[in-house]
Every structure is written in structure tokens, then in C-alpha cells.
Symmetry: C2
């Protein structure tokens, strides 16, 4: 009972042993993450098409709830780039950006997403995240990074462009290029250049100046804050907003409000599919970060409990003016590197952001949107990695097709179509591969009891006996294949008198395959040819015994292939021949 | 070149050797099928919500086109029950039944379906029909049969009821029950009873009277025609249409008209998904009948060419006032039993129906719809077979779940949801099963070179070596599983010094699984534990060589498990122990 409660509410577990050392480590990590998260929260809200405070709100209560229910000790939850983009795509279809309905739809989306995640967690369906293949995820993240970076170009240029796909975005930006606001472009380019420099060179530069590694680390993470402060002050001092530089403007001051998502049937019906997609993408992204970081400290995370932690975080976002959240890649790594030991680091981050929401919001009035766009561009371009295309091309064409389809369709038709196609493609390719299983005709290795492929080894065969080793489980996708193959190998009027199917690599025979085996047996039986099985695995045999197949079988089931060979061969006029590779 | 042409247009092949004997056999078969097809065509058009002549038209040009491009020698193409129901469901969503738009939408649906089938055929994607599992198809056909029979009850009762699902239909019929037209009910019940009697007992009765088998066969197939004639004459003679008996009414007299499907983007967008579904269902139904019949005569059909044949038939239907067609189960069996030898039998049937369209349509003016409904009910109830539920329950719970979901959702939510759920369920269950592969820890069978599961056999083990036999291909769905399993079996601080993965049943390692193997190797390497592979299959090894995995591997790849055991064991302080089942 207590143990069950501790499993469901992990804070009860680690909270009891919380030490002073862990406290101070968590506090330092929280400070660094807070500094990083303030501009990011504003920026990702911008990406999602929401007012800036939504990003801050989404970083307070959800973090606390994850700290209570989550199992990862380093995961930093909040608004992230890919989920923000997915949110903009989803609610852009049901409401106009900037309207009250848009913000409410974001709450609904967070609520549905949270409810779905909790439901999956309660049903212990965490394993379903595995149905997304690694290359598809990698391709999707890369393509999303490109889309997100491109979508921010309009803020850097200070023009009004739109679009959900790469061609749309580029077309729209080119069309509006003559309207470029040169002051905005100057601010945006400088901020982008500065942030790239900070990311690449600042740490090394600070070390060169003699700063300690902890200080250098904090200063590096503060890069975006420095850009925010510098550009805000510049805009304010020179009155650049009068020259058309878009600024953040008024952000309400105070703690997150209590909000109610709109759960009308119409809206729920329209948002349920995107909510499921966002949940799955968010969960997969989050769980892979959490697993990677946990593995470094030899800790374990529980995927089912992670679903509940992330679900709670999203439900929290729905009721406190936020939008869908998940565990972020970059900030979790920062949190981990900064020495976070427990989820309390997250709770401290929430306190930091609450202070920001209360005290700092008036200060961002003159913050140019171009600076936020620069923050996003620099953050997402680190996710872009096209090398998966080359790696899969070398290793496996099927994986390459899946990743290329994901990247191409995400860029060309948008995020939702892209990821859905990636998943469907990888599953269809798997089905296709297993639909044509490798089946080897085998013979006896002379002087042994082993059987090997007659095309690859010098083996003995008996012409009247055909032995086929099936290198795949038999199920509906390949049921017909074996039927056709045997009809081809043992046609009418063939001199073959026995067929032995060697089932050493058959891990399953489903009902469709059973029907095919019955059809094969029926045909061979009509021709007077015996059908035998050998090396059938225990679970497969147990199942066959529950059908009538074994009663109808025009032959026997042998424990070993050698036994089958000896027994069946003895009935026949044994003619042993030795074939070898060169003859074939 | 010539051979290619013969493959694409099979009529060039069989047409050259067409004999007088084959001609007379085909003619007799065509006569019987024509007699059967006239009332069926009218009835299925009624089921599809179309005017009766659409059924006749769909049985003329499409049959001729299939005879030219198809490969089955017995398949009889035309309107069939399940596809008619799917057509009604699909176009009921875009147009009101009885309007001109409804009939045009049916043409569009046939065109899209035909184009999709031809495209699939040209791309040689016929194997995709295998992605539907046998139990799902059986469940879908059974549930559709129940839906279709129920939908016809309103014509038997003479009431106005509607609905796409079983609860809707039954509710609607019950609500309208007080409006029952008793004369219609009398005609409908008598016709239904008569047709059941003909189907069950007439052949036997005729034999008893001394009729030869061919005559008995023709007379049995003429049962529906007899019912049509008797009820039509009755309605005409007694003027029953004045008493509310619904009749077919005016049917245009003449050959099929030339029609143009509406290919506006809006309509195509709405119908493309149903068209794909209809194509796949129709193709699967048709191809399984064709394969079953071809197997009886030791003939082969070519699934890819079948796609082209059925596609051509549907394109023909689109331009001649028809609606989607496919190979029918019952009529193909009749055609086969009646002795059809070549597709020419189909062409002769088309001539028969053309004569009917030209000469007989005025005669069906007084034909009561109740008689057509009786024809449909008797035909589809022969498709209903719930035994697949029991058979799969006994054999495999996963198959049972798929078939139960298909039947339940088809009845409860309609045909489109039902079949889609069935397909998705069977694929997800397959992925789920392979996501938790069987992995056995194995040891050496004393005195042999064989390795067996330590839980099932008395084997020798070395405590510092863990050998795991993986009984499944490794791919994205189960990549993480192996990682977790090894982490569980060889935790930090374990005394294990070597892990050997026995890959004898691993037929594939995809890119996701490769990444998992790299992660496993990294972790074990950090712990100072060696990772070795044994019995890796040729194709898997070829692929691993294309990655960097083998360079990084903290251990070796051995040809046989015994070699691995001896080599790795020799490095260690060999402690051999014999375990047996009772100790575990």
C-alpha cells in the first residue's frame, strides 16, 4: 500500500532522504535553468502564437506537478519548441491567432493531452512509445527544427509572413521581403550572431580570461538574458518601437491565473487527434531525454509513471493559463550538467519563474520580438542533424526511406502529416519486409547432425525430400507467401514425396498462417506428398495442439530436423547426393 | 515484348487457343450466371441506394473489361453486396439518395476506385492485400452480412427506416413497425421463405423427381427469377401497388449510356478515402475467391494483374452509368461449378445482361422491392459465419480480439470504422507481440555442443557468463526491450564478466535496434563487461559490417555459440555447475 503510493507519487520516496547537499546542488541548477527559461518561455509562447505570459505560466505549476509525480531526476518540463509548433498548427485550425478563443483552445489542447497521457499511464501503455522508430523521431525533430527556424525569420526581418510548410513559409517571406524593417533586421541579426558566438565560443573565451568552470557555465547560459537586456534597453533608449520594431508590449503582472479549458464537444472533437499526436511526440521526446540522463547516473525511470507525471503537468497547464508542455531536451541537459540531484530542482525553477512573473514582466515591455526569434533559432538549430539520412542510407534502405519520408513530408506538408507518415511508413516497411521472409532449402552437413542452406554449403540432400527452413514467424502478412513458395517448389507432377518444414526460427503461427498451413497440407495431401514439421518451438506447438491441424497433418512432427531426415528418408528410396556451391 | 503484352492483356494468351468445347462450356455457364445476375443486379443497386438500371449497367462493360485484363478464369465481376453497402455509406455522406448528385457520386467513386486499383497494379502492390488478416476479413464479411440483411428488413416490412449501424437500423425499424404494410410483408416473407427453400432443398427435390444434375442446377439458380416473375405478375394482376406495395417502376430501356464522373477537387477529396477502402476490400474479396477457384484446377492467378483487371472494370463502370464492382463470391462459384473455362464466359454474361437491359426492363415495372430484398437477404445470410469467433478464441486470443473488434465495431459503428479498426487492431497486436520477444538464458547441454533454455533443461552454465538467445528479429518496436532486459539481468556491480547474445533467430537488426545494441555495448563496456555475438546470420552480419558497431564492440563475433562458450570461458575462472529445472 505504502509502496504503491510511493510508486505513484515518487516525491514521497526521494523527499524523505533529501539532504542539505542535494538542496544546494538543486538550488544552483535551478538558478541556471531559470535564467535560461525566462527568455525561452516568452519565445516559445511566441512560436505557439500565444501571448508571452502563457509561456511563463506553462513553466510554473506544470513543473511543480512533474516534480511530484515524475520519476526523472533531471528532466526539466515546460514549453518546448516542437510541441509549441504542433500547438500552433493544431489550434490555428480552430481559432484565429490573437483571439480569446485561441488561448482557450490552447488550454483545451493541454487538458486533452494531459488526460490522454494520464490514461495511457494508468493503462500502463508506456511501451507504445516504442512504436516510433528512432530514425523517424530523429528525422522529425530535424525537419521540425528547420521549420521552426524558418518560421522565425519573419520576426528577424520584421515582416508579416505565414505558412505551415517550408514552401509556404519561404514563399510568404520572399513575397514580403520588400517590406523588411531594417532596424528590426539589424537587431535580429546581431542577437542571432551574438547567441551563436556565446554557444560556440564564450565558454572557451571565459576560461581564457581565467573564470572558473561553474561561473563560465552560468555566464554562458545567461547569454540569451544578456541579449534580452541589451536589445530591450536599446529599443527603449532609442525609441526604436516608433520605427516599426515589434516589441512584446504589456505582459500582465502576477502569478498564474486559474483558467478553465473549454470542453465543448465540438472543440474536443476537433482537438482530440492533435492532442494525441502532441502527447505521443512530447512523451517520446521527454522519455528519451530522461532515459539518456538516467542511464548516465545508473538510475532508472519508469515510462508508465512518466506518462502520469507529464499528464499531471499538462493538466496543470490547462488550469493555469498555459499550453501543452513536455520535458525539454536542451534544458534537461543543462539541469543535469548543472548538478540537479532531485526533482526539487524543478520546483525551485518554478519559484524562480513565479518571481519573474510577479516582478520582471514590466521590464520586458520594450523587448523586441526579433530577440526572442533569435533565441528560438539558435536553440532549434542545435536539434537539426541531417546525418541520420546518411547513416541510414549506409545501414538500411528501409530505415532511410522512413526517415526521408518523414523529413520530406514534414517540410513539404507540415508537422502533423510528416510525423504520421513517418510512423505509418516505418510500420508498413516492417510489414513488407516480414511479408517476404527468408526461406532456405537445407541439406545435411556430412558427418554431422546440422542442416545448412544448400546454396551456401556443401550438404547432402535426398531428391525426394524437400526441407525448407523458414526464417520468420508466420502471420497474416506472410501466410500466403509460404503457400505460393511451396506450390512453386513442389508443383503438380513433381517427383518430391515429402516436404519437411523446419520451424527453428518460427516464433509464432497466427490464425491466418494456420489456415495457410491447412491449405498447404490439403494440396500436398491430394498429391500424395507427406508434410512434416521439425524443431517446432514449445509455445507454437502448444497452440497447434489447440487446432485440428495436427489431426489432419499428412505426416509427422519431429523434435529435431535430424530425426525427421532419418525417419522420413528411411521410408524412401534413399539417394544421397552431395551438392556444392559451384554446381549451383 | 509480345510476352509482356500477353501478361498485361491475358485475353491475347487464352484467346488464341479458344476451342469449340470451351465455347459451349462457357456459354452454358454464362446462361446460368445471367439468370442469377439479373435479379441480383437490380437488388444490389437497391442496396447501394441507386436506381435499378445502375446494377444492370455495372454488369455489362465492367465484365467485358475484366474478361480482357483479368487473369482468373472463373471470377464473375459485377455489383456485390458488401461493396454496394460500402458505396451507400460513402456517397450517403456527400449527396442525398435519389438525387442526380448521388448517382454521379457513385460514378466518381467507381472512377477513383478503378484508378487506385490500376495504380496499385502498375506499382505491383498486390501483396498489400496480405496486410489484412484472414480472421479480420471473415469477421468483416460476417458483420457486413448481418448489416445488409437487417437493412433489407424495411423493404420486407414496407416501412421507411434508415441507419448505418445495427442499433440505428433496429431502432429505426422498431419505431416504424406500426406502419408495416401487411401486403408487402406477405409478399416479402413468402419470397424469402421460397428462396431459402430453393437454396436448401430444391436440388434434392428435383433429383427425387428424376431431373438430371445440369437441369437441376439451372432450375435451382433460376429460383430468384421464379420469385421475381411470380411476385411481379401477382402485383400486376391484383393491382397491389395501389395498396402501398413499393415497386421498381420505370427502368430506362437500352444499352448502358456514356457517363462522366464528376472529378471536381471537392468531391474527389471527400471520396478518395472511401474509394481506397472499397478498392482494398473489393480486391481482397475478389482475389481470395479467384485464388481458391484457381487452386482447384491447379491454375495460378497474378494478384498484380488482377488489380489491373478489377481497376479496368471499375473505370468501365464509371463511364457507363454503373458504380463500384468487384468479383463476387457466390456468382464466381456458380460460374465455376457451371463449367466456365475462360473469361469468355464473362463476356457472354455481359451479352445476356445487355439483352436484358434492352428487352426486359419494361417487364420489371411491377416487380416489388420486397422480392429484391428477399434475394439480398438469402444471398448475404450465406456469408454470415460467426464460427470464426469460436475458432480464434480457442487458437489465439490476439486473433480473437482482432476479429471481435472487427465484428463489434462494424455492427456498432458501421462498415468503414469496422474494417479500419480490424486492420489497425491486427497490426497493433502483431507489433505488441513482437515488442516483448521471447529471450531465453541458455546453457550447454552436457556432452553436446547444443545450448538450451536453463529453465527447461539440465544444462551447464558458467556464472560469470550470461548467454541470451533472442527469439525475434530486433527492430524499433522491441529495441528498447533488450536494453532493459540486459540492464535487469546484468545490473551495476554484478559479477558477470561476459554477455553473449545468441542471434540464431534474429533475422533482422534495423537502425533503431543497432542504436540499442550500441547503447548496450557502451554501458557494458563502461562496466568492464564484454559483449559478444554468436550465430549471426549472413544478411544481419553484412549489415552490421556497414555500421561502426563491430569496431566499437567490446568483445567478438563468433560463428557458433559453442565456439563463443569455449573461447570466452577459457579466459575466465571456469566454474561449471549443473542446474536443473527443480532448482529453479
Amino acid at each position: 500500500m505504502i509502496n504503491n503510493l510511493r510508486r505513484l507519487v515518487p516525491v514521497l520516496d526521494w523527499g524523505r532522504n533529501y539532504t542539505r547537499g542535494a538542496f544546494s546542488n538543486d538550488l544552483i541548477a535551478a538558478l541556471i535553468v531559470t535564467i535560461m527559461l525566462i527568455p525561452q518561455s516568452l519565445a516559445y509562447a511566441l512560436l505557439a502564437g500565444l501571448p508571452p505570459e502563457a509561456g511563463i505560466y506553462a513553466s510554473i505549476v506544470p513543473i511543480v506537478l512533474y516534480a511530484i509525480f515524475g520519476t526523472s531526476r533531471a528532466l526539466a518540463v515546460g514549453p518546448v519548441a516542437v510541441v509549441s509548433l504542433l500547438t500552433a498548427t493544431a489550434i490555428g485550425q480552430v481559432a484565429e491567432q490573437g483571439t480569446a478563443g485561441y488561448a482557450v483552445a490552447a488550454l483545451t489542447l493541454a487538458f486533452l493531452s494531459g488526460a490522454f497521457l494520464v490514461l495511457m499511464g494508468v493503462m500502463r501503455l508506456g511501451f507504445m512509445a516504442n512504436f516510433l522508430s528512432h530514425p523517424v523521431i530523429a528525422g522529425f525533430i530535424t525537419a521540425s527544427g528547420v521549420l521552426i527556424a524558418t518560421s522565425q525569420l519573419r520576426h528577424i526581418l520584421g515582416v508579416d509572413a505565414h505558412g505551415h510548410t517550408l514552401p509556404e513559409m519561404i514563399g510568404s517571406i520572399l513575397a514580403h521581403l520588400p517590406e523588411t524593417n531594417w532596424v528590426t533586421l539589424a537587431i535580429g541579426s546581431l542577437a542571432t550572431g551574438f547567441l551563436f558566438w556565446v554557444r560556440k565560443h564564450l565558454k572557451h573565451f571565459l576560461g581564457f580570461l581565467g573564470a572558473g568552470p561553474v561561473l563560465a557555465n552560468i555566464l554562458t547560459k545567461a547569454g540569451p538574458v544578456a541579449a534580452v537586456v541589451a536589445t530591450t534597453v536599446t529599443v527603449w533608449a532609442l525609441g526604436l518601437n516608433a520605427q516599426g520594431v515589434q516589441i512584446v508590449g504589456t505582459v500582465p503582472q502576477g502569478l498564474p491565473p486559474f483558467t478553465m479549458p473549454d470542453l465543448s464537444l465540438d472543440l474536443v472533437g476537433e482537438l482530440i487527434a492533435p492532442a494525441i499526436l502532441i502527447s505521443i511526440i512530447g512523451f517520446v521526446e521527454s522519455v528519451s531525454v530522461a532515459q539518456t540522463l538516467a542511464a548516465k547516473k545508473r538510475q532508472r525511470i519508469d515510462p508508465d509513471q512518466e506518462l502520469i507525471g507529464l499528464g499531471a503537468a499538462n493538466l496543470g497547464a490547462a488550469f493555469t493559463g498555459g499550453y501543452p508542455v513536455t520535458g525539454g531536451f536542451a534544458r534537461s541537459v543543462v539541469n543535469f550538467d548543472a548538478g540537479a540531484e532531485t526533482p526539487a530542482a524543478g520546483a525551485f525553477t518554478a519559484v524562480g519563474l513565479a518571481i519573474a512573473a510577479f516582478a520582471l514582466t514590466p521590464l520586458v515591455y520594450f523587448l523586441p520580438k526579433a530577440t526572442l526569434a533569435a533565441t528560438i533559432i539558435v536553440a532549434v538549430l542545435s536539434l537539426v542533424d541531417f546525418s541520420v539520412l546518411k547513416k541510414t542510407w549506409v545501414y538500411s534502405r528501409a530505415d532511410f526511406v522512413a526517415v526521408a519520408a518523414t523529413i520530406g513530408l514534414t517540410l513539404g506538408l507540415g508537422v502533423e502529416v510528416g510525423v504520421a507518415s513517418g510512423v505509418v511508413t516505418s510500420i508498413l516497411l516492417h510489414l513488407y519486409k516480414t511479408s517476404r521472409p527468408h526461406v532456405a532449402e537445407v541439406g545435411l552437413v556430412p558427418g554431422s547432425q546440422h542442416f545448412r542452406n544448400i546454396l551456401r554449403h556443401e550438404v547432402e540432400t535426398i531428391p525426394s525430400i524437400v526441407t525448407l527452413r523458414v526464417d520468420e514467424s508466420l502471420y497474416f502478412v506472410n501466410a500466403r507467401f509460404l503457400e505460393d513458395l511451396i506450390q512453386h517448389r513442389v508443383p503438380d507432377g513433381s517427383s518430391v514425396s515429402h516436404v519437411i518444414l523446419m520451424f527453428s526460427a518460427v516464433n509464432e503461427v497466427d490464425y491466418s498462417a494456420l489456415e495457410s498451413l491447412e491449405a498447404i497440407n490439403q494440396r500436398l495431401s491430394d498429391m500424395g506428398v507427406g508434410l512434416h514439421l521439425s524443431e517446432v518451438k514449445g509455445p507454437v506447438m502448444d497452440r497447434l495442439k489447440r487446432s485440428h491441424f495436427l489431426d489432419q497433418l499428412n505426416g509427422r512432427v519431429f523434435l529435431s530436423q535430424y530425426e525427421a531426415w532419418i525417419t522420413v528418408g528411411a521410408h524412401d528410396n534413399v539417394v544421397e547426393t552431395v551438392r556444392n556451391r559451384s554446381k549451383l
